[in-house]
């Protein structure tokens, strides 16, 4: 009897462990591993998935078995045996989970230290969240951009902050996110390992536009990246580029900028509508006022309070003039 129990237990254990390996190695539950960090995180994830699979089928299997095997038979109204406990069994199922937890904890700690190590001379990219757009700054080039481009294989430290409420910068393909908190800068280290375009999403509820606060990161070869940087520097004062850099495109449709946001009013053909819209205002002062103090007149059908009110600080007077002229020139 005892031997038979031991034999059956061994078979069950082997089957469970095999199942754990199978699930852990075959499961394909996440986006492409676009950063070196993703490879390490996924490895840890697979270990956790394997261990969880074993425990899951052990417990659910025992549950189903017990329900089938120990179900009361018709006519049997006796009680079960008066077993109150079993000290060695209880010690066993305290110690084994403790050991598993210790191993997982140590392994997680090692992965954490490894993924957060920025390596030597990483590139710094500043990331600024605001309702409801991301913008980026390359401090080495003193360059602000609306798109995030990164050279493949080069370690980068994101310095993440917010200008209003808390956001969270998340690139699922990189397997990392970090909150953008006003008043402080948080760092996250990434080394892209795959060329491609990957979505950026906001992961912390930040208001009505939370779900549209998306962007993308372009990972490209060093040459393509250098070319892009040079092109951006040349365009730094171009109003169409400014429109995107300032995040306007997140909420407004403008054909010339290729933007499709629908939180705020569309801006194509603005000149035809802007004059005389707010009482006794010409087109140019109206557009300027709408950028600096967006709530002083809100186009019918749209919500007040959503557009940032800090463009007065973020735009130089020349940039503002250029942007107004650009917007009024759109057909």
């Amino acid at each position: 009897m005892k031997e038979r129990t031991l034999f059956l237990s061994a078979i069950v254990a082997i089957v469970l462990v095999a199942l754990g390996f199978l699930v852990a190695s075959q499961a394909n539950l996440m986006p492409p591993e676009a950063s070196t960090r993703a490879v390490e995180v996924d490895q840890l994830f697979r270990v956790l998935l394997g261990v969880s699979t074993v425990i899951f089928f052990l417990v659910e299997g025992a549950l189903v078995f017990a329900v089938l095997r120990f179900r009361k038979r018709a006519g049997d109204d006796r009680d079960g045996p008066p077993i109150h406990g079993n000290t060695s069994l209880e010690i066993l199922w305290t110690l084994i989970p403790t050991a598993i937890v210790v191993v997982i904890g140590v392994y997680s700690f090692q992965v954490l230290m490894s993924i957060e190590n920025p390596g030597r001379s990483p590139r710094i990219v500043e990331i600024i969240g605001r309702q409801f757009a991301w913008s980026f700054r390359y401090p080495d080039q003193d360059l602000a951009t609306s798109e995030l481009h990164l050279p493949v294989g080069q370690s980068v430290v994101f310095q993440i902050t917010s200008e209003d409420v808390i956001h969270s910068f998340w690139v699922p393909a990189f397997r990392g996110k970090r909150d953008a908190t006003p008043g402080q800068v948080s760092e996250m280290t990434i080394t892209p390992r795959e060329i491609g375009v990957f979505p950026i999403r906001c992961a912390e509820l930040c208001g009505a536009g939370h779900s549209i606060m998306t962007s993308q990161v372009v990972v490209e070869s060093q040459d393509a990246f250098d070319g892009w940087l040079a092109q951006q520097q040349a365009l730094a004062n171009d109003p169409g580029q400014l429109f995107l850099t300032m995040g306007c495109g997140g909420c407004h449709i403008l054909a010339a900028a290729g933007s499709t946001g629908t939180v705020g009013p569309p801006l194509d053909g603005l000149a035809a509508r802007a004059g005389g819209r707010a009482p006794s205002e010409d087109a140019a002062p109206y557009v300027e006022e709408s950028i600096l103090e967006p709530d002083s007149f809100v186009a019918p059908g749209f919500q007040p309070g959503l557009m940032p009110k800090n463009f007065g600080q973020r735009l130089t007077p020349e940039q503002l003039q250029a942007l107004v002229a650009f917007l009024l020139a759109q057909p």
């Binding site: 994830f45 969880s52 425990i55 025992a62 006796r78 079993n86 997982i104 996110k177 008043g183």
Partner: protein, 537 residues
């Protein structure tokens, strides 16, 4: 002294009544009404998320619906329904005539309906839109409804603290002769652990809410960055309460299933001492894990590791409980009644919630899945698959005691199957959506997540429909179900040793306890002389 208005009339349920059984029913029924409301809000969300694009709710309304769904479910359903079980059962289970402070007890109930109405009123003054977590600065700048939300949660916190004082005092001072701590039913142990957590953690949230309300109404600057305030301070205050709140919601649920398994397996609970101890261990450890909600926040990265360790260690006492329940039903004579089915469902679904908790505790994985639908799935497996399953188990199990009538077994089974299928169909796809990159609390999503969301919406619909057989069963059986005996389950705990429903002051004579409450399968199994049942009130 305590006065009881005329018993036997339904009017007492709408009056200031100090009988713990009336108050228990008031708690349970009131919170169930809020459960239905919060469930309807969930269905609005699932309808909006059925397909990408915005078709039913605009983003602001969605955020209001989402905020109130979470807040109602936590503060006005699970927390008060658990308090309702505690109120009804603790005096009966320990052989007392009432709670230690009957009038305080009535007061803690009567704070709940106005607090609930205040929370719902937020919809009419611009709404509360910052989620149940109400992170600053979003919640400081939000519309006026956010102030009502804060006031409502403050009142509910005060109610919970008063309730906890009452539970702890009652258990310590009012146990019947022979009811030692070593013979305390495990539900009472669970309520003790929960009450100690409420007393330690709830005041911190209430104080934090005062700061938020002051910032909003008076213009103080506790959380204003420009004036040196710190948004992370709120997260610390909030999670110092709100992670223990999960244990506040799950420990009594574990207590409920610990009562049910021995009765329907006809076997003693396996490892009584370890189950009671592990409740206390979870309560103590539960106070040390809050910052695992903040691994991705701006908190000092060096502080994260201790919280990872404490969060993982909680798996050990939780595992002890699960293994002990399995050992309890092993070799038993299982009677698969509706409460037993829900208790078995509790293990199978809470297990998923518990295992995925390890993924969230492991910081490198957490930094990918936190604030995504993975977390939404995890917390619903813990709180819906876990707590709500146990609440349903408890409602069926004590239905004959509370109402004096039997529920209908067949309808109960239909409810169980629909609830089990609906829960898994609604929440399992959310794990996949979160891993693939869907953030939580979004009113719209990338079309690549459509199929997960369609499954979740279908599951949600099944869940919503599954409450209909329950309501039908509860209402019809309460009105004209067959009369229940004093002890229809042949259970050994004291609440079954008096009439169904129990008379005013519970026992004709206070019982004397001589054995442990789970001595099934033994010769001298009854814990006490069954109290002679006077005409039920």
């Amino acid at each position: 002294m305590t006065t009881y208005p005329a018993t036997g009339t339904w009017r007492r349920y709408f009056s200031w009544n100090t009988d713990h059984k009336v108050i228990g029913i008031q708690y349970i029924v009131t919170s169930f009404v809020f459960f239905i409301l919060a469930g309807m809000l969930a269905m609005l969300m699932r309808a909006e998320l059925r397909a990408p694009g915005s078709d039913l709710l605009n983003a602001e309304t969605y955020n209001q619906v989402m905020t109130n769904h979470g807040s109602l479910m936590i503060f006005l359903w699970i927390l008060p329904v658990v308090a309702g079980f505690g109120n009804y059962l603790i005096p009966l289970m320990i052989g007392a005539r009432d709670m230690a402070f009957p009038r305080l007890n009535a007061l803690s109930y009567w704070l709940i309906p106005p607090a609930g109405l205040i929370m719902l009123a937020s919809f009419f003054v611009g709404g509360a839109e910052a989620g149940w977590t109400a992170y600053v600065p979003l919640s400081i700048g939000g519309p006026p409804g956010q102030t009502l939300w804060a006031v409502s949660v403050m009142i509910l916190g005060i109610s919970a603290i008063m309730g906890a004082i009452n539970f702890v005092t009652t258990v310590i001072t009012m146990r019947a002769p022979g009811m030692t701590f070593g013979r305390l039913p495990l539900f009472v142990w669970g309520m003790m652990a929960t009450s100690l957590l409420v007393l330690s953690a709830t005041p911190v949230l209430t104080a934090g809410l005062v700061l938020v309300a002051l910032d909003r109404v008076v213009g103080t600057q506790f959380f204003t960055v420009a004036s040196g305030g710190d948004p992370i301070l709120w997260q610390n205050l909030f999670w110092f309460y709100s992670h223990p709140a999960v244990y506040i919601m799950i420990l009594p649920a574990m207590g409920i299933v610990s009562e049910i398994f021995p009765v329907f397996a006809r076997k003693p609970i396996f490892g009584y001492r370890m189950i009671a101890l592990s409740s206390m261990a979870i309560a103590v450890l539960g106070l040390t894990v809050w910052a695992h909600h903040m691994f991705a926040s701006g908190m000092d990265p060096r502080l994260r590791v201790p919280y990872m360790v404490s969060s993982m260690v909680i798996a050990v006492p939780t595992g002890i409980k699960i293994f002990s329940w399995l050992a309890t039903i092993w070799y038993g004579k299982l009677r698969l009644t509706t409460p037993m089915l829900f208790a078995l469902g509790f293990i199978s679904m809470f297990l998923i919630g518990g295992l995925t908790g390890i993924f969230l505790a492991a910081i490198p994985v957490d930094l990918h899945v936190t604030d995504t639908y993975f977390v939404v799935a995890h917390l619903h497996f813990v709180l819906f698959g876990g707590s709500v399953s146990a609440v349903y188990a408890g409602l069926y199990y004590w239905f004959p005691k509370i109402t004096g009538r039997m529920y209908d077994e067949k309808t109960g089974r239909v409810h169980f199957v629909a609830n089990f299928v609906g829960t898994n169909l609604a929440y399992l796809p959310m794990f996949a959506a979160g891993l693939m990159g869907m953030p939580r609390r979004v009113a719209d999503y990338d079309p690549s997540f459509t199929s997960y969301n369609q499954m979740a919406t279908l599951g949600g619909l099944i869940l919503a429909l599954s409450t209909l057989p329950f309501l039908y069963n509860a209402i019809v059986s309460w009105a004209r179900g067959p009369k229940a005996a004093a002890n229809p389950w042949s259970a050994l705990t004291l609440e079954w040793q008096t009439s169904s429903p129990p008379p005013t002051e519970n026992f004709a004579e206070i019982p004397v306890v001589t054995t442990d409450p789970y001595a099934y399968g033994e010769e001298s199994s009854l814990t006490a002389e069954p109290a002679a049942a006077p005409a039920a009130g």
